[in-house]
Amino acid sequence: MPEFLQFAFSGLTVGAVYALVALGFTLIYNASDVINFAQGEFVMLGGMTTVFLGLAGVPLPLAAVLAIVVTVAVGLALHRFAIEPARASGAVVLIIITIGASIFLRGVAQVVFDKRFHSLPSFIGGDAIRVGGAAILPQSLVVLAGAVVIVVLLWAFIERTLTGKAMIATAANEVAARLVGIDTRAIVALSFAISAAIGAVAGILITPITLTSYDVGSLLALKGFAAAMLGGIGSAVGAVIGGLLLGLFEAFAAGYVSSQYKDAVAFLIILIVLFATPRGLFGRAPIERV
């Protein structure tokens, strides 16, 4: 049984990372139907900025806060200078723009930071916690807790505040939302800001586990996107469940089947799930929004 438990711990660790990245996709998607492929770069910016501010002598907690601020600024700039001017072009064009933005941000990070891997110290001690013959790092629990906190805050924001409602309205029908007095441009900008903040928090929390470099974003975004699709894109709870499931699939596939095929097994299961429920496990049917 210790093997099973260890695989589960591994799955939860990796899954929590995916879940945090997946959460970043939900908000922008909810506000504008755009899947922001630069989300992975927000994650990278959060981690890398913290690392470099830390190296420059800034205390780590302050460095983390500054990193979030920087990433939010980048998110707003992305919206203002890349998304907003092309707003009339429809979601597909905007998605392609975000891919371009992701490549651009990666290139800039390569020059501004460097091309090496970096790490951050674990938040609460580096020694593994041993349970029933298996071991889990305390940082994995921090990442899981972070995912839960973000889900609760997101839920409260969308369901309990007027701005959150305005965001749902903007997503449902932009013209109608504008007619009832919602500043849709500000709402979409806000969604980019919050997503960037979520990405930055994710990057800071996961760096002690995954390490970071200028190009970690692309693969994290891919896995996070798969997790978000599995959970049902646009649903915060779905993003977390999807992320954890994807992590568990990979860990059990690596442990019981073969480490060569773990990604293949995980994606095969995702395909099967999506065949059965095309909107993902927690996806809303579009009819609900009308």
Partner: protein, 380 residues
């Protein structure tokens, strides 16, 4: 219009010819992966070549002529490398080439230089570059086969014979894994279990749990580079596995120790003497060379040395010495002299080339290092 084009072409030719005659410089080509995924290799290589070509020129050049370095950046793209190789041969008319950085780029460029009959000294790892031997192709870095043999030799000394492999699925990890599997029987080593991980994976505990569950395994070897081996090392300690862990020469940089943290303590790996320059015994023939290179490089760039820049130093110096012995830059004569390189003391080891060996290093070029208290120590 065709008339204009013709005139322009004639003028261009004339200008190119004139420029060639005006400078009494000899061009040395280098196609390196200065940017892109292999930039951590190509960047120190480029800086090394620039530093030492300047230094050689300041001392009057080679055979009375100054060297001019022509560097192209292939971004780790083999197609781009081949295009630049053609440009070096046809437009720049280089007398020799030091590069490419990666095995893929080198293999793509070899046909160009073989056909043009220009010596090429590669800075890439794989053994395929020099096996089978090609007339115009040489290389300076150790092969992954040698790394495996060195690890196995150290295992034998510790009376350990049964190992497990956990390899990265990137090109480096795969190639080294294949070489280790191939040489294990001759070395008397049994590979009892094999696992792998993707180059971007962030948790390898399932694979290591499986290895932990195999009672026969006495040691674990991790062929791979990048951040993967650092995570393997951390997970290894997280699971409390007590067996000796061997990493490859692919992680022989301070960065690995930084990333793996205290978990790196006790990890062994084969690496070039360059990494432990100051710690070598004073009677070590390589000591003066590696200490001098380390000082020059750090002073010039402000960055810690890596073995990769060292390979470029070796390649450049082997070419320069050969050209001096040849007394000219005649390509065929320089090639013959490169092949006759004997007792050349470089950063990678002592090079003794022959018509059948275009690398010229033996196992003594590798040192077994153990990480203790966040620093390298030499294992005697």
């Amino acid at each position: 219009m065709p008339g204009y084009a013709k005139t322009a072409a004639v003028i261009a030719l004339w200008l190119a010819g004139g420029a060639g005659k005006a400078s009494a410089q000899v061009k040395l080509g280098a196609v390196l992966s200065v940017t892109g995924p292999a930039s951590f290799l190509g960047d120190p290589e480029k800086k090394t070549l620039e530093t030492y070509v300047d230094e050689i020129n300041a001392k009057g050049g080679v055979n009375g002529q100054k060297l001019q370095l022509v560097v192209y950046d292939d971004g780790a793209d083999a197609n781009a490398a081949r295009t630049f190789a053609t440009r070096l041969v046809e437009e720049d008319k280089v007398v020799a080439m030091v590069g490419g950085t990666t095995t893929g780029a080198t293999l793509a460029m070899i046909p160009v230089f073989e056909e043009a009959q220009i010596p090429l000294i590669s800075l890439a790892g794989a053994i395929q570059i020099i096996e089978p031997v090609r007339k115009w192709v040489f290389k300076t870095p150790h092969t992954d086969k040698m790394a495996c043999e060195k690890i196995f030799a150290d295992l034998k000394q510790r009376n350990l014979t049964t190992v497990a492999l956990i390899s990265g699925t990137d090109a480096f990890g795969k190639s080294m894994r294949d070489q280790c599997v191939a040489v294990a029987p001759q070395a008397g080593i049994t590979i009892a279990h094999e696992e792998s991980y993707g180059p971007r994976d962030s948790d390898m505990t399932p694979q290591l749990t499986n290895i932990k569950g195999k009672p026969a395994v006495q040691a674990v070897i991790n062929p791979g580079f990048g951040q993967g081996p650092a995570i393997v090392t951390r997970n290894y300690r997280q699971l409390g596995i007590a067996l000796p862990l061997y990493q490859s020469h692919g992680v022989a940089s301070k960065q690995f120790i930084d990333l793996a943290g205290p978990a790196a303590d006790g990890v062994r790996l084969p690496a070039a003497a360059l990494l432990v320059a100051e710690k070598l015994p004073d009677n070590d023939p390589q000591k003066p060379v590696v200490v001098a290179y380390t000082r020059t490089y750090q002073q010039k760039t402000g960055q810690p040395v890596s073995t990769f820049g060292g390979h470029a130093y070796d390649g450049l110096m082997i070419f320069v010495e050969a050209a001096k012995r040849a007394g000219s830059f005649d390509k065929a004569k320089v090639r013959d002299e490169i092949e006759k390189t004997k007792n050349f003391i470089g950063t990678g080891g002592i090079v003794n080339m022959s018509p059948r060996d275009h690398l010229g290093l033996d196992l003594s070029a590798f040192r077994v290092l153990e990480i203790k208290g966040g620093d390298w120590t030499l294992v005697q």
